[in-house]
Structures are given as structure tokens and as C-alpha cells.
């Protein structure tokens, strides 16, 4: 943690970055996002095993962008998000300085997307063991049982959009859910509205989800909604052989066309 504070202090003092996006101590042991803009306040930064939130969503927010060049304290989920944001042309290759912190507190500066790619190649991270188990459990259920499971879960959805707001890949300024001319997706949080919202969101994240689980953590009523987006992502991985958050140059699997596509209907 000291190494991180020292590094942040140094970067801010030398003007290499204007803001360090990191974690600070919050309520009752919670680690929450903070935005350090002066060398003196680098002392606010903390790093421990509770720093699990994905901070990458802030990289595309106008309130944060206006500070200038950011450094971001990065767990693997942040790094995968960074690559995907570069792949989707939301960030330049060298627009963000990632500060990867290892278990022992050693800070590695990753100034470019290439450096992030190399770092992730060694330890990619991904779904937690508990989530992997839940995914496998769901996969073993019959279609009817899965349908019942999701109906029961989505019944609790209050359409607060915390899942969308917390997702680093949900950066659209004007989301399909908010379109009302025409109204694509039913707004009320009744059975149909909830089902449409979460299915459309999962489809929009298929091939783009970095499997950080942030949407599931953000849900106030405890819907494991990340399992749906992760499932969609893995389905794309299986069928198209590419995975979001692994490369800085990555075509969108569901939007790219290749003349040598193995499916005949598309040629």
C-alpha cells in the first residue's frame, strides 16, 4: 500500500498524471472509489483484498475525464476493461496509466495497452470460483428450470439500473433502454419490462463483457445478473474463438463480417 501511495504522489507531483483513480476506506471496511488530484492527498489511497470493485467505468465519465490524464489503480478486472475500452475506441492506446498492484504490494506501471496485454497474458484472472460454480450449476439445469430460475430472480428487479451504471462497458451516452421514439424496451419493472431489459443488456454485452461481475455486485436486491452477461460472453468465446478484455485490437464478434466466415448463410 505504501508503494502505491508513493507512486501516486510521485506521478501527481511530477505532473505525469492529473488524477489517480483508486480506492479509499469507506463505511465499515468497504473500499470505495476515490479520485486523488494532489500529491498530498495520495495518503487516502488504500489497497487490500477488499479492493474488488471495477473502477474502469470512471475512465469514460465526463466528470473524471475533465481532470486530465488519469492513472488507475488496477486489479485484473480493471485491466481487462481497459483493453476492451481501447478495442472499442473509447480510449486511446496510451491515454491511461494503469497501476497494477500485486499481492505483495509491488506496483507495476502499465503505460500502454500493449503493456496491459502483456501483463494480462501472465495472469488473466476472470470469474471467481464461486461464480464459476454457479455458472456450471445453471448450465446443468434443463431449459425450463433455468427459465424458472431467471424468472424468480428478475421478479425482484426494480429497474434502478445500478447494473448498467456500474458496468464499464455500458458507456453509451444514450442507452437503448432510454429511447422512447420509438420505445424499444418496456420501461416498467414488471415481468416483461424486466425480462426485456436484462435480455437486451446481456445481448449487448455478448462479446464485450469482461466478466468483472460488477453488475451483480451493484444490484441492491442481490440478483446475480452478471451470470447472464458472463454466459453470453462465454457463448461468443466458444463460437467465435475470441474473448473480450484480452486484446487491444479486437473486432466485435457480432458486428464484424469476414468473407471467409464458416457459416454459409452470411456469405
Amino acid at each position: 500500500m505504501e508503494a502505491l501511495r508513493t507512486k501516486a504522489k510521485e506521478l501527481l507531483a511530477q505532473g505525469e498524471v492529473q488524477v489517480v483513480i483508486g480506492y479509499e476506506a469507506g463505511t465499515a471496511g468497504v473500499r470505495r472509489p476515490c479520485f486523488v488530484r494532489t500529491a498530498e492527498s495520495a495518503i487516502r489511497l488504500v489497497w487490500d483484498t477488499n479492493c474488488i470493485g471495477n473502477l474502469a467505468g470512471y475512465l469514460t465519465r465526463p466528470e473524471i475525464k475533465r481532470f486530465g490524464k488519469p492513472a488507475i489503480v488496477a486489479n485484473n478486472a480493471v485491466l481487462r476493461s481497459l483493453l476492451q475500452l481501447v478495442a472499442e475506441r473509447q480510449l486511446q492506446q496510451d491515454a491511461v496509466l494503469a497501476l497494477a498492484v500485486a499481492q505483495d504490494g509491488v506496483v507495476t506501471e502499465l503505460p500502454t495497452a500493449q503493456a496491459v496485454e502483456d501483463y494480462l497474458a501472465i495472469s488473466p484472472g476472470g470469474l471467481s470460483a464461486a461464480d464459476r460454480e454457479k455458472m456450471e450449476h445453471l448450465a446443468q439445469l434443463s431449459r425450463e428450470e433455468r427459465w424458472t430460475f431467471w424468472q424468480r430472480e428478475l421478479e425482484r428487479c426494480i429497474k434502478c439500473y445500478a447494473c448498467r451504471s456500474s458496468c464499464p462497458m455500458c458507456y453509451c451516452g444514450h442507452c437503448t433502454m432510454d429511447c422512447n421514439r420509438p420505445q424499444w424496451v418496456s420501461v416498467p419493472s414488471h415481468a416483461l419490462g424486466n425480462l426485456e431489459y436484462h435480455t437486451v443488456r446481456a445481448m449487448h454485452l455478448a462479446g464485450r463483457c469482461v466478466q468483472c461481475g460488477e453488475c451483480g455486485r451493484a444490484c441492491p436486491v442481490g440478483i446475480p445478473i452478471h451470470l447472464l452477461t458472463c454466459y453470453a460472453e462465454e457463448s461468443v468465446h466458444r463460437q467465435f474463438g475470441q474473448q473480450a478484455g484480452t486484446r487491444a485490437k479486437l473486432d466485435y464478434a457480432l458486428g464484424a463480417f469476414r468473407p471467409d466466415d464458416k457459416e454459409s448463410f452470411i456469405r
Partner: protein, 336 residues
């Protein structure tokens, strides 16, 4: 009106059966897959004991997340309109914390301020609130800073306070509470001077709400709102779990032949809340939306109704994905 009685745990369990026989639905905090939710319960044993409060508030029982207001069908040369009366049944809200119970006072004020809202009132009139004093609090709680307290009677029809030797003090506070007690008067005994205060959780006040309200007009252009809201991700979790937030949006679900009009929860924290048809948004930044939330609850509402639109339950702070702790933020504003 208020009389203080006692009820033993066994008698309280028996009261559940009496209520059931009298056709009352009982909703209480119960454990579902490790979460505490307000659920239909039949017995006292189903009610979760050692817990602060459910994630969602009880406002849904009077102000549901989706309320159908009317529907229509177009036939050649005419439009058939259909009005609705909400389907309601007599309901006992059991084990509501005093903060949440007090939340109904805010809802009552708004839904009866100029027009008596038919839907809200039809549901509300069927509710009897049996509050349960708090013997524990957490870091999100701040009832004592906004005029409430762990044993506050505001909003409850009956307030129960657990006694160390078992059983509860039962304060019968309103006619509805009296009517509930009268279903089984023999289950209650006279109290004999038990010290209610000694049972309650200690919640130290963090700020003083009148002082906070007085401060707000001078802080409209302060940098504090932008600073506090930097980590806010702009979702509606805080408003939707809040027992006093009342904003709604009217949605029309229609095709060319028929449709229905629905009232749905909305939140001032969402970008679209103030988005004009022209594309202009008078609250275009999250900092402005955060400021609005604070000003509405602690300034504008207080001016109109004489107290804050906040009961200090802390649900928003617990639900927030990025720990926007309201008590902490309000204390900071108070101390500017």
C-alpha cells in the same frame, strides 16, 4: 390515545394466528436466500430476528413500483375507457423499524397535498403498522439526526419494544392500533413501568436537521456537490430503496388499438429524469442531480411540510454500489 401494555412472545405468536383468522395479510421481514425481504408471513417464527432491516422499504405496500391507472381500447367511432381500483386486502406491516414507519408520514403528506391520490390512499387505508424498536444500529443509521429515534412512535399504530426478560412493551398509538389490539385483548397485559429507553440502540446524532436546512440556501453554488458526487454512478438504487422517495413517471404501454397507463417509480438521480423533449437537460451533470436530491429532501420538502423527507434509515447508503454514505455526506455539508 396512547396506552402502554405488554405482550409475551407466546401471546405475540398467538396474535399472528388471530390476525390470520381475521383475514389480515401479515408482511414482515423474513430471510430469503440469505437476504432480508418484506414477505408474507403466517407465524412469528418466520420473522427474521437478528437483523437491521430489509433492503427495500415498505413503501411498495402503498406505492408499488408499477401501478396501473387506467386502460383503454379503441373501437370504430369510440374509445372505451377502463378505470381501476387497486386490489387491496387488510394488511399488517409487522416489525417495521421506527424509521420506516415514520416514512409513511412523508408519503401521506405528498399523496394528499393537493389531490387525494386514489391509489395510494386505497392501499394505505388498509395498512396497520406494528413497529418494532431497534436494539441495534449500524454505520448507515442516522434516525436521531432527522427527528426520529430507535424507539420513535411516529408512523406506527402499535410500537413493540423488546424487553430483556422476553416479551415486548406494546404502545397502542392510534385507532388502527386499538382495533388490532381489540381482536385479542386478552393477549395483552398492563405494563408496569418498564424502562423503554434502556432497551433501545444508541444512535448518536451526527448533525441537526434544522441547521442543515438553514445552511442549504447558501450552498447552492458550492463545490461540495461536485466533490461529493464524483463517485456517484447515477443509478436509482438510493431512491428506489428509500421509504420516502415518491417520484414517479407515467408510462403509456400502447399499440394502435389499446393501451394502459402505468405509474412507475422514478429517480432524480437518473439522467433522463429532467431530460426535455428538446434534448436540453436542466440538470445535465450528476453533481446537479445529487444536489437536487439533498435539496429536495432537506430543503424544499422541509419548507413545505415542516421537516425533512428523510427518516435516517440508511437504506440508500447500504444499497449504494459505491458507498455514497448519506450520513457522512450530510454531516460534511452541515459542518461547512
Amino acid at each position: 390515545m396512547a396506552t402502554t401494555l405488554k405482550i409475551s412472545a407466546a401471546s405475540l405468536a398467538a396474535l399472528f394466528a388471530v390476525l390470520g383468522d381475521a383475514g389480515r395479510r401479515i408482511l414482515g421481514p423474513a430471510e430469503v436466500d440469505g437476504r432480508i425481504e418484506l414477505k408474507a408471513v403466517r407465524t412469528l417464527a418466520e420473522v427474521a430476528g437478528d437483523q437491521i432491516q430489509p433492503v427495500l422499504s415498505a413503501k411498495e405496500t402503498a406505492f408499488p413500483r408499477v401501478e396501473r391507472l387506467l386502460s383503454y381500447r379503441m373501437a370504430p367511432g369510440k374509445v372505451e375507457l377502463q378505470d381501476y381500483d387497486p386490489e387491496v386486502q387488510p394488511t399488517v406491516l409487522f416489525g417495521l423499524r421506527p424509521c420506516e414507519a415514520a416514512g409513511f408520514n412523508s408519503l401521506d403528506a405528498v399523496f394528499n397535498w393537493d389531490t387525494r391520490d386514489k391509489f395510494f390512499n386505497a392501499r394505505r387505508e388498509q395498512l396497520t403498522v406494528v413497529g418494532l424498536s431497534c436494539t441495534q444500529a449500524d454505520d448507515a443509521c442516522f434516525c436521531t439526526s432527522v427527528g426520529g429515534g430507535p424507539g420513535s412512535t411516529k408512523g406506527s399504530d402499535i410500537l413493540l419494544t423488546p424487553l430483556p426478560e422476553g416479551g415486548y412493551l406494546a404502545e397502542i398509538l392510534t385507532e388502527r392500533g386499538e382495533a388490532l389490539k381489540d381482536l385479542a385483548p386478552a393477549l395483552f397485559q398492563p405494563a408496569n413501568g418498564e424502562d423503554k429507553e434502556a432497551m433501545l440502540a444508541k444512535v448518536e446524532p451526527s448533525f441537526e436537521h434544522q441547521g442543515l436546512a438553514a445552511k442549504l440556501p447558501g450552498l447552492f453554488t458550492s463545490d461540495i456537490w461536485a466533490e461529493q458526487s464524483l463517485r456517484c454512478i447515477g443509478c436509482g438504487a438510493c431512491a428506489f430503496v428509500c421509504p420516502t422517495c415518491v417520484c414517479f413517471d407515467i408510462q403509456e404501454e400502447a399499440d394502435t388499438k389499446q393501451g394502459q397507463r402505468l405509474r412507475c417509480w422514478d429517480s432524480c438521480g437518473l439522467r433522463q429524469f429532467t431530460l426535455h423533449a428538446s434534448g436540453h437537460n436542466p440538470r445535465s451533470a450528476q453533481s446537479e442531480r445529487w444536489r437536487q436530491r439533498i435539496y429536495h429532501k432537506f430543503g424544499y420538502f422541509a419548507e413545505r411540510f415542516g421537516g425533512p423527507m428523510c427518516v435516517g434509515c440508511g437504506k440508500c447508503s447500504r444499497a449504494c454500489p459505491v458507498d455514497m454514505n448519506l450520513k457522512e455526506h450530510l454531516t460534511q455539508v452541515y459542518e461547512v
